[in-house]
């Protein structure tokens, strides 16, 4: 019995595709290249197999994703996850929100903020720096983007430098991309 999830959760759900994933046994050389399939690596998620229908963008998407979320310097990995969570709140991507909320909590050892964010949303009472980061990510994620000079000034007042702000812009924007795939090409289910 599966149940489609409608509310934010910290328990990472299963992602069920609406679009048929590419069958690895019938994948084209370009798809195998984009998927980076090797004899020892055939474990590929349904999500990535769905994206393999468009091998040309997938080829760049994976290194771009890893660069934005994990490269050295700039904003801490934990705070980048809040950029991802902010976008996922706006776009209501339950799956992305769960995965990146969990990563934030693990990386930061902060066990209370995510619960507040999921319960209250962008106005949750958080430590000022975290609140400024979340607010900025949420406003940048609107269509049209609504972050303004005041939101940026608030980041600077909380001590964020340009390198950190750039990484926040990138992580929140990246999830404007990821949410639009994850939330529209499939749905989160609990077993």
């Amino acid at each position: 019995m599966t149940r489609v999830l409608q509310d934010f959760t910290t328990k990472v759900p299963i992602w069920k595709p609406h679009v048929r994933p590419v069958d690895l046994d019938h994948a084209t050389p370009a798809q195998l290249d984009a998927l980076q399939v090797t004899p020892s690596n055939r474990k590929i998620s349904d999500y990535v197999l769905v994206l393999a229908h468009d091998a040309e963008t997938l080829k760049h998407r994976s290194p771009l994703f890893n660069g934005i979320m994990y490269n050295r310097g700039g904003m801490s990995r934990a705070e980048r996850e809040i950029g991802a969570v902010g976008a996922s709140l706006v776009n209501r991507c339950i799956y992305c929100a769960a995965v990146h909320a969990e990563r934030y909590s693990q990386l930061s050892k902060d066990e209370t903020s995510i619960g507040k964010i999921f319960a209250v949303g962008v106005d949750a009472e958080l430590e000022p720096r975290l609140s400024a980061i979340l607010q900025f990510a949420v406003k940048l994620s609107q269509c049209r983007p609504a972050a303004d000079a005041e939101d940026l000034a608030r980041l600077k007042d909380c001590g964020l430098g340009d390198e950190e702000i750039l990484d926040l812009v990138l992580s929140a924007s990246l999830f404007g991309w990821a949410n639009r795939l994850m939330h529209t090409l499939g749905e989160p289910v609990a077993e």
């Binding site: 609406h18 679009v19 048929r20 370009a30 769905v50 994206l51 229908h53 468009d54 040309e56 963008t57 997938l58 080829k59 760049h60 998407r61 290194p63 771009l64 660069g67 934005i68 490269n71 310097g73 700039g74 706006v90 776009n91 209501r92 991507c93 940048l140 994620s141 269509c143 049209r144 983007p145 972050a147 303004d148 000079a149 939101d151 940026l152 000034a153 600077k156 340009d162 390198e163 702000i165 750039l166 990484d167 926040l168 812009v169 990138l170 929140a172 924007s173 990246l174 404007g176 991309w177 990821a178 949410n179 639009r180 795939l181 939330h183 529209t184 090409l185 749905e187």
Partner: protein
């Protein structure tokens, strides 16, 4: 660095901000490669280069971003669009062709209000004769352009506050 993002965010290549951006040169290079793969892929499938540029124009308009609208409009011109493809770039266009109407409806939904999308919307694309691979190609185009517009929106704020 010569790419769409720096140009559209109006950042002086000699500025301090440009130096900060240069530290993430790999990210901006991959972003440019994805831009080219989404707008002008070698294998466009069922979405012509002109149709992709026209849809990107719509997304720029939905985000109220004139610079991106001009950018994708120039790509549309280069792609030798037919009359319909040119009309698709206009938010007020009402397509009579059911396939094009379904493409436009879905692109606008995913760009402007992705939280409202569900499995039913994918089913509507299928009913209009759009195959699985083209559903993913359309989704990647809309999702990528939405990302790129936000990166530039953020960089413009950084430029203005520098």
């Amino acid at each position: 660095m010569n790419d769409v993002i720096l140009r559209l965010s109006g950042i002086d290549p000699q500025s301090e901000l440009a130096k900060v951006i240069a530290k993430r040169a790999d990210i901006f290079e991959l972003t440019q490669k994805t831009h080219d793969a989404a707008l002008r892929p070698a294998d466009p499938g069922g979405l012509s280069h002109a149709m992709r540029a026209a849809i990107a124009c719509r997304i720029a308009s939905l985000n109220d971003d004139a610079a991106f609208r001009d950018h994708f409009g120039a790509i549309l011109d280069q792609a030798a669009p037919d009359e319909t493809e040119r009309q698709v770039s206009d938010l007020d266009y009402r397509a009579s062709d059911p396939r094009i109407s379904a493409l436009i409806r879905h692109a606008d939904l995913v760009a402007a209000n992705p939280r409202a999308a569900s499995g039913r919307d994918i089913e509507l694309l299928r009913q209009a004769g759009i195959v699985e691979a083209d559903i993913v190609r359309l989704s990647e185009l809309v999702a990528f352009v939405s990302y790129q517009i936000r990166v530039v929106a953020g960089l413009r704020l950084m430029r203005q506050s520098a």
